[in-house]
């Protein structure tokens, strides 16, 4: 499982911006091994037996929390789920105190979902437990970035040299940022597409291209990664409405005909069918959306194993 000379020395996984190409490859290779576990009759290995994992989800999430929970169970860890509503944070306790209480209960790994960018960095520097970022504000969602990378690599054989379009609400998207950091590191070309209010030109400084013309971009890409328009979070000044969004940036069947036949359609979910992505395309031959979910499990097993497993310390 260990690839050559690369060793995982990190206690935490906070983001993909700070990872090296070697470290990313190590996670992906480790995930390869764990993916096979999912196909076995008995889907469980003892890698984290006796370890305690806390899913600390200060911001609601179903799919990511479930994925982490299943990943931890398959590694034989003990798991406790804490949601914002059920935590002492609603009683005025600070995040630091909440985490220290969990640490005092011998939590080995804390998986944190939080609405504030930087919250995982904040925790990781203050407690000895491993901290895994399960999404912090609009900052990073590293396991999503890794599972997207894993899926692209699985389907295309490599990531280097590919052209990936990330379409939608980039400004508020942690998925976009983790994807941008990882894809650029791995040698892909990235174009961001969306309304100018949600894809401001500052992103060009990150080393990506910015386009507001979907038709121009679609024929040139190997992967489209569609992001959900988070209309519940956005004030109405960011774009005139869903109708206009679909007209300008929705991946409709007509627009999908501009895609190369082997172009992958990805989406981190949850999908707004008929908004950013046509419903039939979501279930079509080019869609790898459910592969992303399955791979997410393997990638999260790999991350938990590397950060919290015996292999590390």
């Amino acid at each position: 499982m260990n690839s050559g000379t690369v060793h995982w020395t990190r206690k935490d996984l906070l983001g993909l911006r700070e990872l090296s190409v070697e470290e990313i490859n190590l996670v992906l290779e480790t995930a390869d091994a764990f993916k096979q576990v999912g196909t076995r009759e008995v889907k469980k290995v003892p890698a984290l037996q006796g370890k305690t994992l806390i899913n600390l989800f200060i911001e609601p999430s179903t799919r990511t929390r479930t994925s982490f929970e299943l990943a931890a169970k398959r590694l034989s860890a003990d798991i406790v789920n804490i949601s914002a509503a059920a935590s002492s944070l609603t009683k005025g306790e600070t995040l630091k105190d909440t985490a220290r209480v969990l640490e005092a209960n011998h939590a080995d790994i804390i998986v944190l979902r939080h609405s504030s960018a930087g919250a995982p960095q904040f925790l990781a520097s203050r407690i000895a437990s491993s901290v895994i970022n399960a999404g912090d504000g609009a900052h990073e969602h590293p396991t999503q970035g890794l599972l997207d990378l894993y899926t692209i690599r699985e389907k295309k054989g490599t990531v280097a040299g590919l052209h990936v379009a990330i379409i939608g609400d980039i400004l508020f998207s942690r998925v976009a940022r983790s994807n941008i950091f990882a894809l650029l590191k791995m040698g892909a070309r990235v174009t961001l597409v969306g309304p100018s209010t949600l894809v401001p030109r500052e992103f060009e400084q990150l080393g990506v291209a910015v386009s507001h013309n979907l038709e121009e971009v679609l024929p040139t890409v190997d992967v489209v990664n569609l992001l959900r328009i988070q209309h519940e979070r956005q004030r109405k000044e960011y774009f005139p409405g869903l109708g206009e969004y679909i007209r300008l940036f929705g991946l409709t069947k007509a627009r999908a005909r501009l895609l190369r036949p082997d172009c992958l359609i990805m989406h981190p979910g949850p999908i707004n069918r008929g908004v950013e992505l046509d419903s039939e395309l979501a279930d079509g031959a080019q869609s790898v959306i459910l592969d992303q979910v399955t791979n997410g499990l393997a990638v999260r097993m790999a991350v938990l194993y590397l950060c919290g497993g015996i292999a590390t310390r």
């Binding site: 600070t94 939080h114 504030s116 930087g118 990150l206």
Partner: protein, 426 residues
């Protein structure tokens, strides 16, 4: 009681004085040197060779948190921090609890300061009731109670009509208006400068235009009302440009600069350090260059700290949730000396002292800020070349929220004299 300060370089910009000489303090006031020969009282001698003898420094922008937030800072601890930083006069912002929007609160602050403060602590009053931005505070009564200016600092009146009436009214009662320039709609929930780092880190951005829009508004209102509006803690290049143009036309508008806005760029937030979270936020090198240019050409004529103490437990939270602001009094002079005089060589020492003494005194109509004969003997002795390392643990302030811990600086105050009495000494 007499004090004789020998052989210092006396810099008194109010009197155009810059020479090596002696200064005599008699009974708390600057005295005639001939009085040295009077035998009536004992004399303390201070050898100031190699030191600057400056009028006591003035910081017209501090938060001493009392009444209401004594765990962050008290008038007593804040005044000690001021003394340790070389400041003999400070001007307190009104965002206390209760807000300083009534004569009784002003009276309380003045009484408290008279009782416990090592330096002169001068209150400002709120422009609007409870800083709500909706109704005028009793500005006339506040002026009678002794406020030196009115301001809603920390907040900004968004209603241009209300601001206009406040400025007109302030003109009648003879107090300047200080304004924290922030357009709420443009800034939204912004916590850091909107630019590369906010984009990279996914933190809500605070665009420079959010400051510039209000600076422009204030220029128009200062012109309309023919009364002074002073723009606090200017952070953006565009604001400097607007101020320069307006001042050239003679508009009664001015701006101040804080040390952090020329010492750090927004790159400092990359590890989500809440001690780098301030309002207005740290901006770019381009903005720093414009601020330095504005300081050099006189567009920005006042330096201040925006000393904003917060307890560790308040700052030790998620970046979004942390309060804005840093303590500044004890690093201010060192940073300005180091950055403006030594490192960037943008201004000479006398100009620096002018910006920290006579300029704020003039703006606020204070008698201090000079070493004129007969003036209250507020004096700061400065070693402009002393190399020292900032140690937040040794601060006199009740709070430690600074991004400058461990910084090596050149130059600091080594003795602070208020009304003839040494209140702090290195």
């Amino acid at each position: 009681m007499r004090t004789f300060i020998r052989n210092g370089r006396i810099i008194d910009p109010a009197n155009g004085r810059d020479e090596v000489g002696d200064l005599l303090i008699v009974d708390g006031r600057i005295g005639e040197k001939s009085a040295i020969n009077d035998q009536q009282s004992e004399i303390e001698e201070i050898d100031a060779a190699g030191l600057i003898v400056s009028p006591g420094l003035i910081d017209m922008h501090v938060h001493f948190r009392e009444p209401g937030f004594g765990w962050k800072e008290t008038i007593e601890s804040g005044a000690r921090a001021a003394a340790a930083g070389g400041f003999t006069t400070v001007v307190c912002m009104p965002n206390t609890s209760p807000v300083a929007d009534s004569p009784s609160t002003i009276a309380w602050i003045k009484d408290r300061a008279a009782e416990v403060a090592a330096v002169h602590v001068l209150p400002t009053g709120a422009i609007s009731k409870n800083l709500g931005g909706e109704e005028l505070a009793p500005i006339g009564s506040l002026a009678q109670a002794g406020v030196v200016a009115i301001t809603d600092d920390g907040r900004c009146i968004q209603n241009n009509e209300l601001m206009r009436r406040a400025v007109e009214y302030a003109r009648m009662v003879g107090v300047p208006v200080l304004d924290h320039c922030q357009d709420y709609d443009l800034v939204g929930h912004g916590v850091v400068h909107e630019g590369y780092w906010s984009t990279l880190l996914g933190l809500p951005g605070w665009p420079a235009a959010g400051e510039e829009a209000i600076v422009a508004r204030n220029i128009l209102l200062a012109e309309l009302c023919d009364h002074r509006i002073h723009c606090q803690h200017i952070s953006a290049a565009g604001s400097v440009r607007l101020l320069r143009e307006a001042r050239a036309r003679g508009v009664k508008i001015s701006g101040e600069v804080c040390p952090h806005h020329i010492a750090l760029t927004d790159e400092a937030i990359q590890n989500f350090d809440t001690d780098c979270k301030m309002n207005p936020p740290l901006r770019t090198q381009r903005d720093i260059d414009a601020l330095l240019e504005g300081i050099a050409d006189g567009t920005l004529e006042i330096l201040a700290s925006d000393h904003a103490p917060h307890a560790k437990f308040e700052k030790e939270v998620e970046f979004d949730a942390a309060p804005f602001g840093i303590v500044g009094l004890e690093t201010e002079l060192g940073l300005f000396l180091d950055l403006l005089v030594h490192r960037h060589r943008r201004i000479a020492l006398p100009r620096l002292i002018e910006m920290l003494t006579v300029n704020p005194a003039k703006l606020l109509g204070l008698k201090c800020g000079t070493l004129s004969l007969g003036a209250v003997a507020d004096v700061t002795l400065i070693d402009p070349d002393l190399e020292w390392t900032v140690d937040a643990g040794a601060f006199q302030s009740a709070s430690r929220n600074t991004p400058f811990h461990g910084w090596k600086l050149r130059g600091r105050a080594i003795r602070t004299i208020v009304a003839g009495k040494t209140v702090w000494q290195l």
